[in-house]
Each structure stands twice: as structure tokens, then as C-alpha cells.
């Protein structure tokens, strides 16, 4: 057996214990983890400092260094996050449905953990504790595979959590970190079908695509966001301005930010200058089609075909004029990533048609796509935003980390 197979075996065994652990015990363990993270702040910061100086020596960009950096305040934030997960309702054990069949069999469908969850992520060490807490609360063992830049930090965080688990009376192998950060270990994890029930990649689109393409373990694809806002001919244009500005500018790097604005031809001449004035506040670069350039002038960069499919993650916006609601719907379905799509309209019929026909995890009328988030949707913490349709779609809370089983009680029935 390889060391990763041994780790998988240990995780699977821990998962069996965790699956039948009560809520109180799991919450005590989460609380012990939060306490231990605070108590060992100095150790975590020391490990993180070593990661950071190696990163600087390797020429890591300043923004990447910021993602990697832990501070006392960030560690307090991580510990608070763990306590918030402890406070969420436990999804495990509840009957989703229960009925008695004509032959007397009592059949209930019970919520159970998935088993062993793999998380592949990049340079943010906070994911280590966030993901571990969500998996623990939902009764799953987790195998974490972070980026090599954060290895020392992840190692420190994981050891603290494992010891806290043990002190709380749960198996420490319920949380473990892959010790080898080579590409080979990532590939091996993606194919660890004997032990892993699901693999969730968290990070940039390169990572997500590599995992989706190579994994034999079932994957939940998360976080690709090419989101549109469509300004209908009947829209309240002030509201449309405010929604478009918020969707683009409140945090352009995240997956629920708008990447492309669609405008109905009937309001293009009036609306485009209005929204440009708002977007100019943040110096947003506009890439427009011919009509947009005709209205806004040569300051607008001509959009290429590629622009319609690009997740900029930046202060850049593709803008297109459409002739009809139907064209807008088709455009969203063709070029969107199935994340979040919005119509701004005062027309009841247009709103309903857009909500029904656009195929995305979240469809909006008259609100910013920036709300697509586990907390904002009332799910508590989230482990990612699924853009696939199988198993989970949209923000994934604790319930999305579960499966079900049928529990059948009889008194001798045969078929």
C-alpha cells in the first residue's frame, strides 16, 4: 500500500466512527479545535512565517502572499468560523421521509454522511480549518490536500486539529493532510476510489478543470462564475445601474461577480451612458459590441468572441446589446457558466420567463448576483458553490455534504 492508500484506509475507518458519533460529541470536538487553534497561535504563525519567507524567495506575487498570510486576527477569525459551524444544526440522522408500505414494511430515508471527502485547494490555509470543520460537523472524514506553498501552515493547523479531536474522544484520522505536495500525489488522490467518496476542488479554474478532467473519484465542480446581468426594456434604469455596479465592483475577484452586461436595444442609448458613469468610478474597462461602441464611443474596447466566455475576476466588463428577452436568455444559457444570472425588469412576464428558462444554479430578478453565497442564502457556512447539476447545485452547506440511506423495518416480510 502507498502512504496515501494507508491514509485513505485510516480515514475510512475514522469515518465509520464519525458516522455514528452524536451531535454533542462532534460539537465538543469543534469547540476543542477552536480553543486549540487559539492556544497554539504562536506555532501557527511560526509555520506560516516559514511558508511566507520561502514564498518570497520564490518570487510569489504580493496578492498571493496576502492569501497565504495568517495573522493573529485571521487565526481568531478561523477559530470563530469553527465555532459558528458547531452552532449550525446537525444534518445527520434526521429522516427525510418515512412511510409504511401496504405490506407493513416501515421505510424511512435517513440522512447520513457521505463518508470520506477529499478537498484539493491552493494557497489559502484558512480552507484547512473551514473545510475540516464542515466535514466534521456533517460526520465525514476529510483528507486535505493543500498547495505546497502553504504546507507548513497546513501541517501546523492539521496537527492541532488532530490532537484536539483525540482529546475530545474522536479518531484523529478523521482529519488528515496529504504529506506529499507533488503533482503525483494530487493525481493519486483523484484516483483513490477505494477510500474517497467525493472530491471537492477549491481554487482557480485551472485547478477545477484539472480535477474534473482527471479524477475517477466523483467530483463536485465549484466556483466557475461567468455571470450575466440583463437589463430588460422595461427595467427601472436607476435600479439596473445600482445592481450592475454592485455585481461588478463590490468584489470583482469572486465567482458571483458579473462578467457580462446585456442590455435591451430599446434602452441601450439611455442606459449605457448612465451605467458607464457609475462604472467609471472604479475605472472599469468596458469591452463592448458595435452598438455599445456606437453609443459610448471609442473609449470602449471592441469585444472579441472570447470576451463572451471570459471570467475576468477584475475591473473589466463585457457589454452587449440584445434585440429581445429571448436573445438574452439564449446568450446566458450559451455563455454563462451556470452560476448566477440576473434580469432587471418591471415586467412580470419577462421576469417569469427568465426565471424559468435560464439554466443556472441561481436565477435572479432585480437583485445583485453577489448574493449567491451560503451565508446570504441562509445555509450557514458553505464549502463552495457548485456549478454542476448532480448532487448539489449552488451554495453547498452541511446538507450538501450528506447522502441518505433507506432504513427498512419489517417483521418477516418476503417477496
Amino acid at each position: 500500500m502507498t502512504s496515501l492508500e494507508l491514509q485513505g484506509q485510516a480515514a475510512k475507518s475514522a469515518a465509520q466512527t464519525l458516522a455514528v458519533a452524536g451531535t454533542q460529541l462532534k460539537n465538543q470536538a469543534l469547540s476543542a479545535i477552536a480553543d486549540a487553534l487559539l492556544a497554539h497561535t504562536a506555532d501557527i504563525l511560526a509555520a506560516n512565517a516559514a511558508d511566507l519567507s520561502a514564498a518570497q524567495a520564490n518570487g510569489m506575487t504580493v496578492s498571493m502572499q496576502d492569501r497565504l498570510r495568517l495573522t493573529e486576527e485571521r487565526i481568531r477569525g478561523i477559530a470563530d468560523g469553527v465555532r459558528q459551524v458547531a452552532a449550525l444544526p446537525d444534518p445527520i440522522g434526521a429522516a427525510v421521509s418515512e412511510a409504511v408500505r401496504p405490506n407493513g414494511l416501515r421505510i424511512s430515508r435517513r440522512r447520513v454522511p457521505l463518508g470520506v471527502i477529499g478537498i484539493i485547494y491552493e494557497a489559502r490555509p484558512n480552507v484547512t480549518a473551514d473545510a475540516a470543520a464542515l466535514c466534521l460537523k456533517s460526520g465525514n472524514a476529510v483528507i486535505l490536500r493543500g498547495g505546497k506553498e502553504a504546507f507548513r501552515s497546513n501541517q501546523a493547523l492539521t496537527e492541532i486539529m488532530r490532537n484536539a479531536l483525540e482529546s475530545a474522544g474522536l479518531p484523529k484520522d478523521a482529519i488528515s493532510l496529504v504529506q506529499d505536495t507533488s503533482r503525483e500525489s494530487a493525481n493519486e488522490l483523484m484516483n483513490l476510489t477505494a477510500y474517497l467518496d467525493v472530491l471537492i476542488p477549491r481554487g482557480g479554474r485551472g485547478l477545477i478543470r484539472a480535477v474534473t478532467a482527471n479524477a475517477k473519484v466523483p467530483v463536485i465542480r465549484t466556483g466557475e462564475g461567468v455571470c450575466h446581468t440583463y437589463v430588460d426594456e422595461s427595467a427601472d434604469l436607476d435600479m439596473a445601474c445600482s445592481i450592475a455596479y454592485n455585481a461588478k465592483c463590490s468584489r470583482p475577484s469572486v465567482c458571483n461577480a458579473m462578467e457580462c452586461l446585456l442590455v435591451h436595444r430599446a434602452v441601450a442609448e439611455q442606459f449605457l451612458p448612465l451605467v458607464k458613469a457609475r462604472l467609471d468610478v472604479k475605472s472599469v474597462e468596458i469591452r463592448g459590441d458595435e452598438t455599445v461602441r456606437a453609443v459610448l464611443g471609442d473609449a470602449v474596447v471592441p469585444a472579441t468572441e472570447e470576451d463572451w466566455d471570459t471570467e475576468y475576476g477584475d475591473y473589466i466588463l463585457a457589454v452587449k446589446v440584445v434585440d429581445s428577452l429571448e436573445e438574452a436568455i439564449d446568450f446566458c444559457n450559451l455563455h454563462g457558466s451556470g452560476h448566477s444570472e440576473c434580469i432587471v425588469t418591471e415586467s412580470y412576464t419577462a421576469a417569469e420567463q427568465f426565471l424559468n428558462a435560464v439554466d443556472a444554479a441561481a436565477v435572479y430578478v432585480n437583485a445583485s448576483t453577489r448574493f449567491t453565497d451560503g451565508g446570504e442564502f441562509g445555509l450557514g457556512a458553505e464549502i463552495g458553490i457548485s456549478t454542476q447539476k448532480m448532487h448539489a447545485r449552488g451554495p453547498m452547506g452541511l446538507e450538501e455534504l450528506t447522502s441518505t440511506k433507506f432504513v427498512v423495518r419489517g417483521n418477516g416480510q418476503v417477496r
Copy 2:
């Protein structure tokens, strides 16, 4: 574009129409399909006769020929099955949950189709109509890829269904058959990620494993059944005999049949001769461990390690004596395929422990595992029995062919 890509594109476009088609229209189409299948019975039988004579020329086994064979009665059965699907409740459109957030956003989670479903199957042409009906009712387009032995039959069935769809006012590309039955076309279908939302293999374990191993499209693994019945020390031994006999002998070829019987040591001497007498009625071959052979004598074949992991699908049964409930639970979790597992016991504590700790799609107390079935569980028709934990687990009815989307209604909210 390859012809399969064109087919995928047409299916995706049809899926968008189907996703917003009302229940009445879908039911009318199902009814038109059932009528058309009956009206064209002669054409179907002619195509099937050509498949059968080619199969005979190629030396197909008699039991495989039986699976391939259609008769007037079987076609009536297929048409009845389509009408039964029409009579099931439509899962699409219902709100799974709805709430208003503190900021006034009204967020509902709505059941929607998966989109385009691929089905890969073998020599049973009845799957063609069954699967198409379930996909249609749940608003999904389907791409069918049957075995080459049944191609003419599948082609006849599919053309009849496509014409009926069109006559009912729905796009015919909602149902289509892959025209190339080579291994290459199966591989291409498994990797058609641009158009397929999910792939469901139906057939023997060789097919299931090949699809699971090779597909990049998300797969729902179905139908592998290594099921156990554990006779506890407190079992009612008459009941245990009757359940064991039913689980093994009522239909040994299906996935919910028992493959391995576990017996607590305390009752082994009393129970084993009883159950052997019952199993002898069907000349079941018993493969036992040393204790079983010590009790039942040399007529019992010695079990090898391989026997504990084998799905016989036949009148063969592995039998093992265990020292404790815990050993039985661990054995089920180690050697079972996660399908259906049963304890026969009069002990409340043993029953609860088994139900909680055994990790399978269906766990039973005092009833035959043969009940794991969509109809028996009250789900209506089923498209297969999932043995994975993601998305669907156990018998898959119409609801398992759906996803959800978040529908968010605002009045100008920004974040």
C-alpha cells in the same frame, strides 16, 4: 463536429424546451408514445426478428436471446410501462423550500431537470422505452446507447417514440439513439461533457465498471449487488430461514438477491441445517467457512477469500459463521457493495446498532433484501439502483433524475 456532438447539441436544445414543458404536454406525449408502440407492433417485431437471427448466427446464448426477444405481450408490457410513468406525479417545478431573507430577498429552491441524460445499456430493448419515458416525464432529454445486438430493435422503438413526440408538439430530439454501436462511440459518449449532464450505465458489472473508470461525464453507478443477510443470536430462526430462502432463491440473477449469509456462532449448529434444508429445494450450492463445513459436512464447498466478494447472480451462496454482531457489521461494510444488507434479530439493541453502523443504500431488519426496488419502496418506476452516495442512493425514481435551482426575487437589493 462529430455526428455524436451534433446529436448532443440537438439533445441539449431539446432539453431546454422540455425543461419548461408543462405536465399535461409531457403526459400527452407519453400517451402518444404508448399508442404508437402498440400501433407499430409489427414493425418492432420485424426489426427484433432481424436482430435475433443475426444474434443466432453469431452464437448468442439462449438466455441472452431471451433478453433480446420482444413479443406482442412484451410490447404491450412496454406500452403499459410508459402509461404508468405518465400517471406518476411530475417532480418538476415544485419548490423544495422557500423563505424570505432579512434583506427581503425571497429565495426558493425549485426542482428542475438535470438536462441531458445518457444511458448506456446492453441487450434489453425494453430499456429503450423505459428509460426514455422516465427521462421525458422528468423533463430531461435522453441519448440512448444500446448494445449492437439490439440495434435494429432500438432503432425501430426510438423512431416510433421520436415521431410520437413530434406529433404531440415536443421536439423529437428529446429522445435519440446513438447510431454507431462501436466501442469508440461508447467512449465518445462517456466524454461528451459539453452536452451530457449525467451518464447512467445499466447492465452487468463489466459495463458499469468500464463506464465508471472511463467517463469524464458524471456517472451514477448502479446495480452492483453483493448483499448479506446476518442471522443474529437472538433471531427467530424460522423467520430467518424464510427470509434467507427468499433473498437467495426468489430471483437469484438480480442485484438485490443475497450472495452471502452470516450466522452468529451461538445459533450456527441449530440454524445451518434448517436453512440448508430450505435451500436444498432449489439445489443451492453452499460455499462455507470451516465452521459451516464442520456443521453441514463435506457437501459444502470450502469458501475461498474470493467468494466473500463475489456477486454470483445464481443459485450459489457463501456462508460464514461470525462471533459477534460487530464482526457481522464489519464484514458487511468490508465485503458488501453498499446495496442492501439485512439483520434478522429479536434484539432491539442489535437491530438499532446494525441499522446505524452498516453503510449501504438500504439496511433491513427482519425482511428480505429483495424489496430494494423503486416500486416496492413506493417511488413508482425506477431507472436503476444507485450504489454510490453522491446525488442518488438506492432505487432511483423520477426525483433522482432532477436537480434544483435557486430562484431569487428582489426589489433592487445589492450587497
